[in-house]
Symmetry: C2
Subunit: 253 residues, 2 copies
């Protein structure tokens, strides 16, 4: 009897042919590979480029990193980098170590914009994320002190402009200062969304949101706004700006 392994989830099927559908993860027969009756080969070593984090598999590190071009001396065995968490160290975690761990969560960077009585405003946010589909719903977390929080609390409408990787200038324009003392849209090309809120013309994608009134959660210094997505579009296929990328490169740009 032949054995077939699902390349997605590892499920093993026995039979002359792979199954039509993987009973575990649902993929089709094209995702199955024949399992040799010989024992599985030993796992290759994994080498990590210490400059760009590229992972190379093989007995030896590559002569040159194919991603960033540094030589083999910049590679280390991945198992030497990965630390093993111990039961004892878990007992020593503190608020300080927890805060450091929170820093390892990945985010993008967005301009969340609103309009009230003809006045436009926008702020930088990293906490925009999808909740459900269907219906298309997102959440946005905003500091109660921010002008955008005030506008959205009153109008229930906003837009999210997704920033491209090179738009450090927009982080500087919409972050670091308040719309109470600056007109942040003074020099920024924008168009009005269907809900009237401004969208950056050179964003890489945008979303329009309508807050669901009974789904605004007070979480302390911030409110978490749950919103139905009422519009949105991909503008172009640039890479998205992540918070990690901004942090690592803001001194260089």
């Amino acid at each position: 009897m032949k054995k077939w392994r699902c390349k997605v989830c590892g499920y093993i099927h026995e039979g002359e042919q792979p199954p039509d559908v993987c009973p575990v993860c649902g993929v089709g027969p094209e995702e199955f590979e024949l399992v040799d009756s010989a024992p599985a080969p030993a796992k290759p070593k994994r080498w990590k480029c210490t400059v760009c984090d590229y992972i190379h598999e093989g007995d030896e590190p590559p002569e040159v990193c194919p991603v960033c071009g540094v030589g083999r001396e910049m590679f280390v065995l991945l198992e030497d980098v990965v630390q093993q968490l111990t039961a004892a160290s878990v007992q020593n975690s503190t608020e300080g170590t927890s805060r450091a761990a929170l820093d390892k969560i990945s985010y993008g960077l967005y301009v969340v914009s609103s309009i009230k009585a003809g006045k436009l405003n926008g702020q930088i946010s990293n906490t925009v994320f999808q909740l459900t589909d269907p219906p298309l719903r997102i959440a946005v977390c905003l500091n109660k002190k921010n002008l955008t929080h005030e506008y959205i609390s009153e109008t229930g409408c906003f837009t999210v402009s997704v920033l491209g990787q090179e738009q450090f200038d927009m982080v500087r324009n919409f972050g670091y200062r308040s719309g109470r003392t600056a007109d942040k849209f003074a020099d920024v090309p924008y168009v009005a969304g269907k809900n009237g809120c401004p969208i950056l013309c050179n964003c890489m994608a945008y979303l329009e949101g309508r807050v669901i009134p009974d789904k605004v959660l007070d979480v302390g210094t911030h409110h978490l706004f749950v919103a139905d997505v009422t519009g949105g579009m991909v503008v172009d296929e640039r890479a998205a700006l992540t918070y990690e990328y901004f942090r690592s490169n803001k001194q260089k740009k």
Copy 2:
């Protein structure tokens, strides 16, 4: 009179010396640069590597991309890549275009784990994010059908293991299948958090969470759980696995 520009926010200060504190963004005098009385130089052209998204500034593209090594023929002017959103196109957005835009939000990948009556379970989640500090609070969004949702709803406790960039095997182990039919921790080294929930020994960082009972929000197919962070730690300094990285590389690994 000299003019000084804040390199962080662009604020212009007039005086013999830079100010002690930027009145807009709060940075110190070391972040100010003297503004020449001559007009500002024209902005350099920006060239985008179409292979790795590296941005080069200069009149010409570089001979070789310093990040991925391809030649100058692979560079395009950034302004040719960036599309400008128009007021007319905004009117044409649909649920389909909105869904495509939602795909441009950036996420990490995490194993959210729980324990109930001695039974362990974990699932992959991309929606883990910080809400406030202080107090240290996070939110996690879970599908109501998932076993982890059932466990956390009953116990109020969970852990988040932040995955390193190379841990595709953990996505395959904890995703694509249900803890109702598989013991996902059978072959995975773990330690118990202070709250008893399992944490992957080879995660790069972890968090422990305690759900705030009156801050669980029903958002449709999912519940959004707001939790106080009761522990956490960085384990090592690997790069974090992002959803975008997983999606782009899962066929290769």
